[in-house]
Amino acid sequence: MLWYKNWLETRGRLLAIWLPVFLGFALAIALAIRSAAWLVPAPGAPHGGALVAGPGDRAAELANWWAFWFGGTLPFLLAALGLILAPGGLVSESALGSVSFSLSLPASRRRQFSVRAALLLLELLATALWTTLLAAGLGELLGHPAPWSVALVQALLTALGVAVLLSLGFLLAALFNDWAKPLALGLGLFLGGSLLVNLMASFTEVGQRLGRFGIAALRATYEFLFNDSFFIAGHFPWRHALACVALTLILLELAIRVTERRDY
């Protein structure tokens, strides 16, 4: 029944994301059927590309379409989904006054936390898979044969990367017993750090080095988490996948232990 309860808690938010995404795809597919050229990203454009008419080099078009999908769109979609679905569980119930009821049930905190985390990860994975299926379908309609199984495996790998971020979110929320504070702190650190580094970069050599290091670190983290090399190169990134799984499990275990020790 914990699965049932957590599903009821998240389904509204999940469908609020799924519906517009589905409609977006439906519209894109309808437009693609109507005009194959309309939605093809400009050839040679890096990740994302611009929505301009006119087909270009077909291999480049295909690469750019999937670069658009895996290089930015899918990670962003899944991260946004995680951000929206994550608030809840014992942390939110603590603020809403229902945590005493949850903790009076004969279900350990570990079990309650684990079921919620597992459901969210499944929702994340399901989103990655069905949206990628539609993306592959759209690619097919555009005349670009889509490697379905490869796309799905890449979607799984992208979801794994977001799972690490989601688990980090769980840990921070458990530490703060709040969802808003970690988010605010993270944003504050990011903005404050960016401002400081940019200021320093304007005046000092050290600042410039820090800035380059910071950007490189961010890029490296992004590329580690949202590694689309499998789709491009065809080699399954075992180390990346195992690292993501291990990180996710470690972060979740830490979050569970913090939750178990907390007084409510």
Partner: protein, 296 residues
Amino acid sequence: MPDAVIETIDLRKRFGRVEALRGLNLNVPAGSICGFLGRNGSGKSTTMKLLLGMVRPDGGEGRVLGWPIDDPRASVEIRRRTGFVSEEKGLYSYLTVEQMIQFTRPFFPAWNRALEDRYRRLFELPAERKIKALSKGMRAKLALLLALARGAELLILDEPTDGLDPAANEEVLQALVAAAAEGVTVFVASHRLAEIEQIADCVRILHDGRIVLAATLDELKENYRRIQLVFAGAAPAVTVTLAGMVEVRHEGRAVSVLVSARAEAIADELQRFQPISTELLPVGLKEIFLENVKRP
């Protein structure tokens, strides 16, 4: 089942600099309705949370239904056999009444469908209404149904009648009496002393982090008396201290002495002051409570 369903020895809990419990020695007999009384912020809710594993003790020990309260696995067993209603009556606002019951039922193998149906009808709970749309009283009734229908051996209730209208109040009190008649132990924290006096078998008064009074209601009624002495002229200063005397009040021509034991013996001793009349009056729970929770 042990004689004491709830037993704590020197239980301690601190929140930062505040010592909520300073050596709590609590004993709740099996099959009783036990009123748990104390001022606001005295630690009643903290005690209940400690018993159910929501809060971890800093010292001492406790057992509920024979299981230790500081062991996470034992705590699950305690909660499987216990019905709890918190002071906030917080439930899942996004569920309907029906969903809330369906969600809770499978956790408790001893869930009593007959009791569930009975309290659904009695409390007139609208099955399809979302919990966030329920009034405070309706939410309290639903929380009580979820506790009462569990088939629990022990009910731990924190202000269960808060927010209820008088009719619902009476229904709940009767439900608790019925539960106790079935052998369920009821441990209820309440500020409504009249209700406690109505249904409880025993009381425990918590003050300054410790139990300051633990007795059955019969013992309290038998032992606590107010001795009213009336004098022909101005009342003399009654300065004698006798075992069992709790408080002496001088009121014009009368002296009022609250005693917790030996009422008749003390009344006899006080005849040396030659009152023109002496009366032994019963004392209500409110007065006993107020006397025991006076600030030092």
